[in-house]
Symmetry: C2
Subunit: 151 residues, 2 copies
């Protein structure tokens, strides 16, 4: 099936996800973009770092905030290969990410359109624009392959 060309930041996030898989981590990658430039990026790394918070999104947000010297990432976009969990969705709120673009939905662990639906509560201080499905097939293939190989 022909697929539309992916935006560069999502292609980069998928490359990072592939690197995670090669390192034995669940293949998820994330990229923070400001004015068309990548200001932070990371892949999933909780096992190697012994850090349960070392999800791709958290690490990419921390990297971007360090790059910009600001805990607020207003006007930034976050590209990630899988629907963020509650922890990462919460971090997106705190960082004031302007737009979240995620590839594959995660009915088990996702907390954007599943489970805790972090952005959908009246208490939520900041709701990013949310785009999903861009790169979904590629991301789902990576995850499927990773878990199949480990079964």
């Amino acid at each position: 099936m022909m697929r539309w060309p992916l935006p560069d930041p999502m292609r980069r996030a998928l490359t990072l996800a592939r690197e995670a898989a090669e390192a034995g981590e669940v293949p998820i990658g994330a990229v923070v973009v400001k004015d068309g430039t990548i200001v932070g990026e990371a892949r999933n790394a909780p096992r190697a770092t012994h850090d349960p918070t070392a999800h791709a999104e958290i690490a990419a947000i921390r990297a971007a905030a360090a790059t910009l010297g600001n805990e607020r990432l207003s006007g930034c976009e976050l590209y990630v290969t899988l629907e963020p969990c509650a922890m990462c969705a919460g971090a997106i709120v705190h960082a004031r990410i302007g737009r979240l673009v995620y590839a594959a939905p995660d009915p088990k662990g996702g907390a954007v359109t599943h489970g805790a639906r972090v952005f959908d509560h009246p208490q939520c201080l900041h709701r990013p624009e949310v785009v999903s499905g861009i790169g979904e097939g590629e991301s789902a293939d990576l995850l499927r392959e990773f878990f199949r190989a480990r079964r």
Copy 2:
């Protein structure tokens, strides 16, 4: 009013919260305990560190995981002075914290008994035992004083 003596880890978390206030950060402190010993502790520090994820709970969990060399903190207790937000509740799930003890409820930003109620969804992989109200008066006083001084 006479109050019951606080458990040592909550007293320590309140001291860390006071240190946060002195540093100009929202006064929240957190302590991770394993078999009666503190294995990680932290105070809120997002402003000084330019890190939107630098909540007391996240930093305490990261410190404990580094101390124990394990991303899973099974059998550990987390003491924190305020009801965790969605990000921190998600991190508690990922870390498999066995018991969460928090002091004051947070109707605005909390995500345990308010808002996203992160532990209450069928998808939630791990639900810690939750105890609240221990040190509530002391924690609420610290927060009230901090925000009053800044108005």
